[in-house]
């Protein structure tokens, strides 16, 4: 392939590289920059409440807000510790 492109002079397409890089960074920045201010507080309080009943740590709860077209989805992901068998 590289030998062929060497002879026929086709260059790598930088536009597609740009598009790929942008789609990654924009997706990332949308979730971080556009998150409303209450998310960290919500996450903290959720941990407080849930840890009353189940033994969970800070990293076990993930709160994310996603936007799809006109509707926003609040995703709360709680990883419960494995139940000790009684």
């Amino acid at each position: 392939m590289s030998l062929l492109s060497y002879f026929f002079g086709s260059k790598p397409k930088t536009a597609s590289v740009a598009k790929e890089r942008l789609s990654l960074i924009i997706a990332h920045e949308r979730t971080t920059n556009r998150a409303p201010d209450f998310l960290p507080a919500l996450q903290r309080e959720l941990i407080e409440v849930i840890s009353k009943y189940v033994n969970v740590g800070v990293d076990d709860i993930k709160v994310q807000l996603e936007k799809q077209d006109n509707c926003e989805i609040l995703e709360v992901n709680i990883t419960l510790p494995e139940q000790p068998t009684r």
């Binding site: 536009a15 740009a18 942008l22 924009i26 949308r30």
Partner: protein
């Protein structure tokens, strides 16, 4: 109701002022009473692009502070009957702009019977840029097919969706339009430049037009004539199409396909 349109981009040098000048002129040519406001306090430029720099007496901050009334500060455009320019102040800093002050000016323009108010935003995401978009009903986001411009446009879209009055008050959101400028169909064809479809796919905003890269833009700014007035220019035609689409007229996209120069053109040159 006066419709407030912000022309914004995040990144500098992508064509905000050129676009503000041409769109406001285009709307005025269609018979709408239009005002165009330069929000770049400290670095005014719109007056030069509109060719009225020698007629500036009072500016936006003078009106906000009550040192002049709106009628004294508005400059009548030399090309269009219905167009008025409100220049930015050069001497004061951006803190001179207050939300209440801007709101007062916009309300007064509405009382004066203006149909459209175009707000030419400064670059960046600081106070001046936020102030320009605060009262917007519609936004034209100017983007170059280039990585930093696309990323900055996405940032400014986020700010539109969180800091505009419409967003804060939970009203219908600001109507967003994507405008791709400095477009080179040849470079897109060769895979060297993001296509307008790529940019639209990344930003997810409806496209209102594509302005081709052209030497004419410099020629227009040299003379202080908005690019839309140029004769036999692709840029002027593209801006006229944008104004038509803004007014809900159907116009197919032009100047986005690359045509290989024919043998005659290659032999004898030409533009």
């Amino acid at each position: 109701m006066a419709r407030v349109i912000v022309v914004t981009s995040g990144k500098g040098g992508v064509g905000k002022t050129t676009t503000s000048a041409s769109i406001s002129s285009g709307l005025a040519l269609r018979g709408f009473k239009t005002a165009v406001i330069d929000f770049d306090v400290g670095l005014r430029n719109l007056d030069l692009i509109m060719g009225c720099e020698r007629r500036v007496v009072y500016d936006l901050i003078n009106v906000v502070n009550g040192e002049a009334n709106l009628n004294q500060a508005l400059i009548k455009d030399k090309h269009c009957e219905n167009l008025f320019i409100l220049p930015a102040s050069q001497t004061r800093d951006k803190d001179a702009l207050s939300e209440e002050g801007v709101e007062k000016v916009l309300k007064e323009l509405e009382h004066m019977g203006f149909d459209y108010v175009i707000c030419d935003s400064p670059a960046g995401i600081e106070k001046g840029a936020v102030m320009a978009l605060t009262f917007a009903d519609e936004a034209i986001v100017v983007t170059n097919p280039e990585v930093s411009s696309v990323r900055d446009s996405d940032r400014i879209l986020g700010i539109l969706q969180s800091k505009s009055r419409r967003a804060i008050e939970g009203r219908d959101p600001v109507k967003e339009h994507l405008m791709v400028t400095r477009y080179s169909p040849k470079r897109v064809e060769e895979g060297e430049m993001l296509s307008y479809k790529d940019v639209q796919e990344l930003l997810r905003v409806p496209l209102i037009g594509v302005i081709p890269e052209s030497d004419d833009v410099l020629q227009a700014s040299n003379q202080g004539t908005p690019a839309i007035h140029l004769k036999d220019s692709d840029v002027a035609t593209a801006y006229q199409d944008v104004v038509a689409r803004f007014l809900d007229e159907d116009r197919p996209l032009r100047f986005v396909a690359y045509e290989k120069p024919g043998i005659l053109k290659r032999l004898f040159g030409g533009k």
